[in-house]
């Protein structure tokens, strides 16, 4: 193991993260809790709009997950739950492995040559590497940093996700015939509605997707990802290419979606994590440094490294 390049922070070189599966008791953990921070109403809570807490149900579970490209381990020993009913934000500096971790959840890491892994990732109790990969990716869909609609019409973009269901590995459902438009349209409109785009484009679904604005394109990508009715939605810095207004629209959308789908978002924008996340995982150089509720991680981080990052010391 090589020494991390950031030399300034040497306080906790090998952080012991409280297992995220245990009930976290913030008050009992004396180490690194800023004095007095617990007294006032949490600044994080003030930053975001009031929202109802929802019942969280665990969909995915990462157990001691390590990920490698070639010989290099870029993520080491990460354990996390992914729950429906809440938004999990992965934060950390560039190169901290958060995007790799995100991509491993639907095995998109595998399209890069030389990808390797260790540990267990389960989806509803099943090891994801035993699920047929395309079936998995229909259950765990992803939205990327750059809006990437296909050069087709709005309708075709969303319908694409619904068409041609791949042959399942075990039960082998009969291969579906190519569906007609009238059969697909209700589902397409529903997906656009869930992505908050239907009002803007519903009257003309045949417009080319590339003619939409950047924010609309990204919501179209979200609609496309939702069309297959996934259990988990992965978002890789979905707002980094967008203006503040589009960003606000999408953030609102994300918070609204968490009830019907487990949401995992990677973001460089700490305010964004504060605004949308229920739980936050802070990663540094491939390791999970801290995991907790958004309030806890932002307002009373337990680790010096987290405090430095949130305070803008590095990254």
């Amino acid at each position: 193991m090589t020494a991390p390049p950031v030399r300034r922070i040497a306080l906790d070189r090998h952080p012991r993260v409280v297992s995220p599966f245990e009930q976290v008791d913030g008050a009992g953990n004396g180490q690194g809790t800023a004095a007095g921070a617990t007294a006032v109403a949490s600044p994080t809570a003030r930053r975001r709009a009031a929202r109802p807490t929802t019942a969280a149900a665990e969909r995915m579970r990462l157990e001691s997950v390590s990920l490698a490209y070639g010989e290099r381990w870029v993520v080491r020993d990460v354990s996390l739950p992914v729950r429906q009913g809440e938004v999990l934000a992965l934060i950390g500096a560039s190169g901290s492995g958060k995007t790799t971790l995100l991509r491993s959840l639907n095995r998109l890491t595998e399209i890069t040559a030389g990808a390797g892994r260790a540990g267990r990732i389960t989806l509803d109790g099943d090891e994801i590497h035993e699920i047929e990969v395309n079936a998995l990716r229909r259950r765990v869909t992803m939205v990327f940093q750059q809006p990437n609609p296909f050069p087709m019409s709005i309708f075709e973009n969303v319908a694409y996700a619904l068409r041609e269901a791949p042959i399942g590995s075990g039960s082998r459902p009969p291969r579906r015939r190519r569906l007609r438009r009238s059969q697909l349209e209700p589902a397409v409109r529903e997906a656009l509605r869930r992505a908050g785009l239907h009002e803007e484009v519903g009257d003309d679904l045949d417009r080319p997707a590339m003619a939409l604005s950047g924010g609309q394109q990204q919501r179209l990508c979200i609609a496309r990802a939702l069309a297959a009715d996934p259990e988990v939605l992965l978002l890789d810095e979905p707002c980094s290419a967008l203006d503040p207004i589009s960003t606000a629209v999408i953030e609102e959308l994300i918070v609204g979606l968490r009830e019907s789908v487990a949401v995992v978002i990677v973001t460089h924008n700490l305010q964004q994590a504060q605004r949308v996340a229920d739980h936050v995982a802070f990663m540094h150089l491939g390791e999970l440094v801290e995991y907790g509720t958004a309030e806890q991680v932002f307002d009373e981080p337990r680790r010096q490294r987290t405090r430095d990052y949130i305070g803008g010391a590095f990254g």
């Binding site: 990716r137 296909f150 694409y160 417009r207 080319p208 590339m210 003619a211």
Partner: protein
């Protein structure tokens, strides 16, 4: 202090950057610069000269009669007819060649770029294609003659009185033209595949689509302009080739049908194209340079026309390279 009366804006004297002069350059640099200039202008002049010459010569020799009359064997210029059948021949050979080359080349490029496994096979296929690209068309024509004159391929062409297969027909010429064009089309389409952003593929994979579905439903539609320009290049290659026509189409004056099935009898028969017509009239037995000019001019027009047509059919050349799909 700002007053109620706005002061007249002072006139600014605009200074624009002066062009860089070569006066301060070392002599070698200046000479090299001059050479670059000369070469560029020289090439422009050559291109312009060809087009202008063809235009002037062609227009002055071209009569409507030439376009609608079939050529006939006569020593007199006035009775040797026009080149209506070579025009048809050119179109037929080009159509067959393109229909052969484009699907194969697209499939080839898709496999090389999106699959390419096992690696050694991809390497082998690549160098195979490169080899074909390097073969002179006359050699390819000889190969075609050897292959298609076998009795097994008798259905593609006619046979002589003693039963030997000629191996000369529109079908044979078109097939070999297709082989000739494959490397060019495949290279262009390959380039297109490489220019597609990775995120397009990722987006499709992330929706649980297989590589095949992704290629067929997302990549190939996005590739239409690249496929179109490959097609144009391939057509140009096919239209311009004379060696294959001469050997595999017979270069006969008329389109000589074989058998009696309509259409098929023409395709199995021999004939000529504009290139072979130009060849025989400019240098061969036809000996009518004026008609050769006119035919060459028509050939040029057909090439330009087909280019425009394909470009239009594909929805514009820069659909992908600039902002794909931004068009309405």
């Amino acid at each position: 202090m700002a007053t109620a009366q706005p002061a007249a804006e002072p006139a600014l004297e605009m200074v624009r950057p002066r062009r860089e002069t070569t006066a301060a350059w070392p002599l070698v640099d200046r000479l090299a610069y001059l050479l670059c200039w000369a070469v560029g202008i020289g090439l422009c002049l050559v291109a312009l000269g060809i087009v202008a010459l063809m235009f002037v010569k062609g227009i002055s020799e071209l009569h409507l009669k030439l376009l609608v009359e079939a050529p006939s064997a006569s020593l007199h210029q006035t009775q040797s007819g026009g080149f209506s059948t070579p025009i048809v021949g050119t179109l037929v050979v080009t159509a067959i060649g393109t229909l052969v080359a484009v699907p194969i080349a697209v499939a080839l490029a898709a496999w090389l770029n999106e699959y390419g496994r096992p690696r050694w096979l991809a390497r082998a296929v690549e160098s195979g294609v490169e080899t074909i690209a390097g073969i002179p068309s006359i050699v390819l024509a000889l190969f075609g003659l050897l292959l298609f004159a076998r009795p097994f391929f008798g259905f593609l062409s006619g046979s002589t009185n003693n039963g030997a297969v000629t191996g000369q027909s529109f079908l044979v010429a078109g097939l070999v033209m297709g082989i000739l064009a494959i490397p060019l089309v495949a290279a262009t389409v390959s380039e297109g595949f490489q220019q597609l952003p990775r995120r397009l593929r990722e987006a499709s994979f992330a929706l649980g689509k297989t590589r095949t579905t992704t290629t067929r439903r997302v990549l190939l539609p996005a590739m239409r302009p690249a496929i179109a320009s490959g097609t144009v290049l391939g057509m140009g290659r096919i239209i311009g080739d004379t060696a294959i026509i001469w050997i595999l189409l017979g270069g006969t004056l008329h389109n000589t049908p074989v058998g009696s099935t309509p259409i098929l009898k023409t395709l199995r028969g021999t004939g000529s194209t504009l290139t072979s017509y130009v060849f025989s009239n400019a240098a061969g037995e036809g000996n009518s340079p004026q008609k050769a000019y006119a035919a060459a001019f028509v050939l040029l027009l057909i090439v330009l026309g087909l280019n425009a047509l394909v470009t239009r059919l594909s929805g514009g050349r820069s659909l992908y390279t600039t902002r794909w799909g931004a068009k309405r």
